[in-house]
């Protein structure tokens, strides 16, 4: 009956299918409820500026950042905490209010995920509270991942589309990617 064909093409087809769909899983879908065995930490020192004496402008990014901003669960948790911890109170829904906008390419203290983590942990002059010691480190990473999603800087298949609230941003799956501008924005 159906067991008739053991033609090699059949198995090749299946292998090809399996291989191609290896692209869809993994990093994006992993759910890490808490880091094991040790609790998560935030990086101890972050450079706010990308300038270095001697010209070289790069610095090593914390490898955890890339994991968090590619993971759909972490970005989603970041979105929920953005609401719970009332980031909206100063930043609007990313469009800015008395705090700066988070949806654009202008970052006063750096727009890479580690730099955002540093801003949340340390606080910043003129009104950003220091949440270090108040929000656990894993949750700060998640918040930073969501902030990156607000400016389209996460893979589109990891970003959430819209939250179940009144719509106030374009869906994050359609947000154009706005990499942080290399020079920090100047104060007016």
């Amino acid at each position: 009956m159906c067991l008739r064909f053991r033609h090699p093409d059949y198995r090749a087809l299946l292998a090809l299918l399996l291989a191609s769909l290896a692209l869809v899983g993994c990093e994006r879908e992993r759910r890490e409820y808490s880091t094991q065995p040790l609790p998560e930490t935030t990086p101890a020192t972050i450079a706010v500026s990308s300038l270095r004496p001697g010209g070289a402008a790069t610095f090593a990014a914390d490898p955890r950042g890339s994991h968090y901003q590619r993971n759909a669960y972490d970005i989603n948790q970041g979105e929920r905490m953005f609401r719970w911890f009332n980031c909206n109170g100063c930043h609007g829904s990313g469009g800015g209010d008395i705090g700066p906008a988070l949806m654009d390419a202008q970052w006063r203290y750096g727009g890479s995920i580690d730099q955002i983590v540093a801003s949340i942990v340390q606080g910043r002059p003129d009104g950003m509270p220091a949440f270090g010691g108040k929000i656990p480190p894993q949750q700060i990473w998640q918040l930073a991942a969501y902030v990156r999603a607000l400016s389209g800087n996460v893979p589109k298949d990891a970003a959430p589309s819209r939250s179940d609230t009144i719509s106030n941003t374009p869906p994050l799956t359609r947000m154009p990617e706005q990499p942080p501008a290399s020079e920090p924005a100047r104060h007016p």
Binding site: R31, Y33, S34, T35, P39, R80, W84, F85, G133, K134, I135, P136, Q138, Q139, D164
Partner: protein, 332 residues
């Protein structure tokens, strides 16, 4: 074998008087539903036995037949048609009885609007925010994961949800009602027997749907009044240095980001209200009993007890943990 049967009987008896059973009604609403359950049994079980008896009869009779294939006696066809007609009438009558009874009981479940006690429950993933409402705002208070209801009085419960669809179900007291974001549902409870009952979320709501329960205590009038007035007050102030340490830890670190304790500076509504935590019997929405050991286990790693819960795992030093546990257990 006998031992197994005895154990089964004992378990059955224990379960019948269980705290989360529809077969043990303790309120008007559950009682009405129990009535229709018994009517259903009285109609459906004999119906099933009738059909099975007909099947057995037919099989027994047919084995004795000597007919050839396709040979059909027309006389029996005629009486069979009559039988079919009678059968349809019998089924229709049975269904009419059940439908009518169902309507009558359904009317009994509709909330009247004259309840003495009004509660608003907002379901969140995966706990219950409970607010006791009152026309006088100073008499309103908030708690979590536990209800106290006055015996023999109507309690009106308003059901909302903050995130996904949940369902409020206390089987001993009433049927369930979904809690749907964007809608407000209502249910009325009129308990008739004092005691402790358990409810659970009855609509799949994500990772920890299995561990989203609440306890419902039905109290005599004076016990209910004293419970209510205790809940209205602020948290007791710490009476020792350890308790003071715990309170300070609570206010200055992560806890205050999500929890409220009236009488402290912690006033966030993201997580359950802990003002009178020690007056409750469970933590984590019924997942763990309230005692020093399970509280310490919960605080040091909530993700191990209830993976996926929204309370994060925090790095707590042992001294801080002891102080915090002691402080929380003092919040009667």
């Amino acid at each position: 074998m006998i031992g197994a049967l005895q154990t089964a009987a004992r378990l059955h008896a224990a379960a019948l008087a269980d705290v989360q059973s529809a077969l043990d009604p303790a309120a008007d609403q559950a009682q009405a539903i129990d009535g229709i359950w018994h009517l259903m049994l009285w109609v459906c079980v004999p119906m099933y036995l009738l059909v099975m008896a007909a099947l057995a009869f037919v099989v027994w009779r047919a084995r004795r037949q000597r007919r050839e294939r396709g040979d059909v006696a027309t006389a029996s066809e005629g009486s069979l048609y009559n039988g079919l007609g009678i059968w349809v009438v019998v089924v229709m009558l049975g269904l009419t009885v059940l439908t009518t009874a169902s309507y009558l009981v359904d009317r009994k479940l509709i909330p009247a609007q004259d309840a003495q006690v009004k509660i608003r429950i907002t379901a969140k993933q995966w706990w219950w925010q409970v607010e006791y409402l009152n026309d006088d705002p100073s008499q309103q208070f908030m708690t979590a994961n536990e209800l106290h209801l006055p015996l023999a009085q109507k309690t009106h419960v308003e059901l909302r949800s903050d995130d996904v669809i949940h369902s409020f179900w206390v089987p001993n007291l009433s049927g369930k009602r979904d809690m749907i974001p964007g809608r407000v549902n209502q249910i009325e409870l009129t308990p008739r027997r004092a005691g402790k009952y358990r409810g659970t979320c009855a609509e799949f709501c994500g990772l920890q749907h299995a561990k989203m329960s609440l306890l419902v205590y039905v109290d005599e009038e004076k016990n209910f009044a004293s419970w209510r007035s205790a809940q209205l007050g602020a948290a007791p102030s710490p009476g020792s240095e350890v308790l003071e340490h715990g309170k300070r830890y609570f206010e200055t670190t992560t806890c205050a980001m999500c929890h409220t304790i009236n009488g402290t500076t912690a006033h966030s509504l993201a997580g359950p209200d802990l003002t009178h935590l020690a007056s409750r019997s469970t933590i984590a929405a019924g997942a763990l009993p309230l005692n020093a050991g399970s509280l310490a286990a919960w605080l040091s790693d909530p993700q191990r007890q209830k993976p996926g819960t929204n309370m994060p795992t925090i790095d707590i030093e042992p001294d801080d943990l002891n102080a915090l546990v002691a402080y929380l257990l003092s919040l009667k």
